[in-house]
Subunit: 358 residues, 2 copies
């Protein structure tokens, strides 16, 4: 039987609850497909700050690096919001992404027929939305140097960051995006601000150059402000979107909210080689932490992405995906996606139902 080591990073807030459900889903789906998992649970985010004084302890990073895949719950909370930058939970997440070299963040936004009512968009606009944002994750303004604070000639305080991309950083994310589009519906929209920013002009130039390797993919370009509009006007026009780190942060969150069910959405972050990082796109939701109210499905679906993109275990992934649809079809809903006529359940009960269906 195949054996994999998975690093679990429960993190903060509802993180531990949803990770615990996803772990059992992995175990069960794995055992039915002849896969054995060794799990290593490590502290990260606010939990790590409280325990060790840093948001990403060295041991957590090295354990993650040595495993076959990493599953993260969520990080952050009011308690650490006013920490200095190097002591923020978010900084730990950025260090983890950089440490694992996962430069490609895949964020699907799918409106399931079962949940079309959850969207704030009109039914005819929301139904059938099925898009994927491919976000560059280890470059751009998130990591660009120089950055920091200084004083200008008028003795005023100044804050600055650098948006910067080198050709190879664009080329490799473009290739992932073209490959992703090929597995989907063959359409790729590259989003930039090439009418203003030099970094975007290079982005557009390189994406256009890489396109010659993918003659079967239909490539278009869109400015980021227009993309933010088009996602609201007609999200169905998009298949695969590729964009830089900061635009991807904004647009993938906007796209996810268009589905109306961010408690359902997973993500995968991949590098050239080495373990991928898989996490729900929702946050740590400190308000409902520990109350058995969280929706575990985004993390369960992240576990499915882990199987598919991280380990190449398609069958086990499909088992989990089917089980999630099953639980929805049975009418079970956590609070975030609940509406009249459906059965309101907690995190655990939803988890048990998914396990039954696996």
């Amino acid at each position: 039987s195949r054996r994999y080591t998975i690093t679990l990073l429960p993190g903060d807030g509802i993180g531990p609850e949803v990770i615990s459900v996803a772990k059992t889903a992995l175990q069960l789906a794995g055992s039915l497909e002849g896969i054995e998992f060794g799990f290593k649970e490590m502290p990260m985010g606010g939990a790590a700050l409280d325990l060790t004084g840093v948001p990403l302890p060295e041991e957590t990073l090295s354990t993650a690096q040595q495993s076959d895949a990493v599953l993260l719950g969520a990080i952050g909370g009011y308690k650490w919001d006013n920490n200095e930058k190097h002591l923020k939970p978010e900084t730990g997440l950025l260090q983890l992404r950089k440490g694992l070299k996962v430069f490609a963040n895949l964020r699907p936004a799918t409106v399931l027929p079962q949940l079309v009512e959850a969207s704030t968009l009109k039914k005819e606009v929301a139904e059938g939305v099925d898009l994927m944002v491919v976000r560059e994750l280890t470059g751009g303004i998130y990591f660009g140097q120089p950055r920091g604070f200084s004083t200008n000639d008028n003795d005023e305080e100044v804050g600055f960051n650098t948006e910067v991309y080198a050709a190879h950083e664009i080329d490799r994310i473009a290739r992932i995006a073209f490959e992703t589009a090929r597995k989907r519906h063959g359409k790729l929209c590259s989003v930039d601000k090439a009418n203003v920013l030099e970094a975007s002009m290079l982005w557009r130039k390189r994406v256009t150059a890489i396109a010659s390797e993918y003659p079967d993919i239909e490539l278009s370009h869109m400015y980021v402000d227009n993309a933010a509009m088009q996602l609201v006007r007609n999200p169905k026009q998009f298949d695969t979107i590729v964009t830089n780190n900061i635009f991807g942060d904004i647009l993938s969150d906007e796209a996810s909210m268009i589905t109306g069910s961010i408690g359902m959405l997973p993500s995968a972050s991949l590098g050239e080689s080495g373990p991928g990082l898989f996490e729900p796109i929702h946050g740590s939701a400190p308000d409902i932490a520990g109350q058995d109210k969280a929706n575990p499905l985004a993390t369960v679906l992240s576990a499915a992405m882990l199987l598919k993109y991280g380990l190449g275990e398609e069958k086990a992934a499909q088992r989990i995906e089917a089980a999630v649809l099953d639980a929805l079809n049975k009418g079970l809903r956590t609070g975030d996606i609940h509406s009249a006529g459906y059965k309101l359940v907690g995190c655990k009960e939803m988890g048990e139902e998914v396990l039954k269906s696996i």
Copy 2:
């Protein structure tokens, strides 16, 4: 009678059509309020490129600087899309903003009861939306130095830009935003990415400091990715939003699309002193240019903002605003906001109807 000089910049695409309507509206509303206008029409954008080889001729800028207010139609078109940066119509617009020192861009997004159906959002989510985005317009990554292209150690091409804010740039836009919130519903939401970017950390710090001058205004902070979500989830939670140049570009366009009627939305760009710049938020729409299909109301409402914010002529502004509502109440609709049961009209007919109502 009061006399003002207005620079008209029709620009490209549908620009000339909509400017011509707005000009007559200004003349009529003015004459009824004892205001006389001297208009100077100057080339700008693609039109200026074709005529003079640059997107913002010196004479256009100096005429604009010497006038009491500037009304712009729209710029850009396929023809100039692949121009080098310094020869893009957009570059002319950025030079104009910088040349007029209009650092505060006010962009209202209002869902009129008459047009609530135009939104792709469900009626209960869209109705009553009335928010104002105050966008910093002459700083940040749009203008930050250094910027450009270089080669790295691996002999690869690199593109880079600088996101940079000095304290006084944040302070002055914050004050405009607090003043704006005071005239509205007393709530200000400052949007940044202070969990990642130093420029945003300074932004949050300065906005928080300026807040002490406005104890009557309720200030909150939100990360830009969350703001992009919240605009879709529940846009009514917002009154006034203040944010930097690039985030404002994205979020104000998203907010405008939430209204479903971007052909209706005006904007005002203001400096410490000197003429303001007023323009519709829609683009030059080359596809429908010259076909009498454009919606002139965004430009007409920009003329109203010119009267109100640019010249302090509240009464004349109100005449125009009321006339626009009148035309809508009579059931007139241009193609962009047309639906069954309403009278489809062209740009000119809509303009004539507005004139009648003034």
